[in-house]
Amino acid sequence: MTTLPHSTTKKLGLVIDLDTCVGCQACVTACKGWNDQGYGAPLSDQDPYGAAPSGTFLNRVHSYQITPEDAAPIIVNMPRSCLHCDDAPCVTVCPTGASYKRTEDGIVLVNEDACIGCGLCAWACPYGARELDAAAGVMKKCTLCVDRIYNENLPEQDREPACVRTCPTGARHFGDFADPQSHVSRLSAERGGMALMPELGTKPVNRYLPPRKKDVMQASPLAPLLDIQASGFAGWLDKMLGKIG
């Protein structure tokens, strides 16, 4: 399976809106919570109450500060998880066939039963989307909640990734990029959805919407009713109330 499918029927993925993400980390723990009891081995934590806790997460939210040449500095929060690349190097490097990209929807998954935990796929991924679970010794990564999105045991409205479902600002959108009319395709087209590190040639499916331009409010200052210095308060009052007179 380590060869990639030539094409996939659907291209499921996420649009993440960096203009809206407030960096609340809800998607991080919702993802951990769902995947801790869902697909494959639990996401373990080492030394959870100790001096150096460390655990497996499939989604981590970064925060960057950007200083433009001639405007006020800004902060952008950026969730980072698997981008379900079309040209996924993590798949082709895998020696066991554990890593694969699904032909029907393009989701990149790890078959944990076949994973030897060599770590090479994590090395091959430019985006840090894979973490080797220290307890299970298998590679963990975002599954695009494959065990939710088709799950007939869940009500229809819940068949979306846990992180999307929980995101309080609605900064995360899930859908099919193969369909140009889908919500995600249109959002990405309208708002200039970005592929991260295109120079790596991985052809990510997920798109990030760039922050809108900041600090550009341009209302022309209000003209005074009259010259108060000259007219005094009484003049102002007359002029003002004359309006409803």
Binding site: T2, Q65, I66, G117, L120, C125, A136
Partner: protein
Amino acid sequence: MNPAPSVILFTTLSGLGFGLLAFLSAGLVEVHGLHAFFFWAAGYALAVGGLLLSTFHLGNPQRALLAFSQWRSSWLSREAVAAVATLLWLAPVALSQWLGFDWPPFWGLVGAILCAATIFTTSMIYAQLKTVPRWNTWITPVMFQSFALAGGAILAGQKPVALVALAALAVVQALVWRIGDGRFAQLGASIGTATGLGSIGTVRVFEQPHTSPNYLMREMIHVVGRKHAQKLRIITLLFAVVLPLMLLVLAPGGPTALLCAAALHLLGAITSRWLFFAQAEHVVGLYYGAR
């Protein structure tokens, strides 16, 4: 990248082993009987030992057999297949030399080529990774071959070859650093492209996603001893090339001198390999502001 001892030892020892085996297999070493047995055993021990060490960093080594399945796409799988195939192929050659069967040299020549191929597959595990620009260059396989050649030649007691190989290694190693140092910049990846935010202005990390460390940071963003890189490069050249060369040239021939030269060279190779990992920067570090 994290210079994990198991991986460093795996690549250096197996490289050395297959280098030696290549020389033996090609019939370049005049050995017979017990003498041959010891040489071959040493070659096998290094190669197999290295391979075994490589399983130490596996999360689930019990499934290691599965790693032979993806030879069509995966260099790691190819390496596994190549290594085992080579070791199997070489077995009759070794037997022949040990027990004096005098089988046709064709088997041995093919065996030597297989050794080189195995070393190549090992090197390609690293060289293929676009994510680690320092490795992702033609010089990486050349370097692996050069070390195998030089180390193999010393161990095989092939003085003239060794001298030439060592000299070549010095050049290759220098090139490796020269090319490697510029690779990240050449790739053009930056915190700006990693985040897609570079067009707005200068991007810096404000807060890391977690205050506690994680797998990515340990494995790929590991920064250790980069400060000492210059010193370690000199040590590498000294041990891997200069000292063995001097020993080979100045010391009277004999197993002790050879072993000493080989040991020194191995130390140098390990240092080189340590640097190979420690200096390698993974592009994921960009997300963490590393670089």
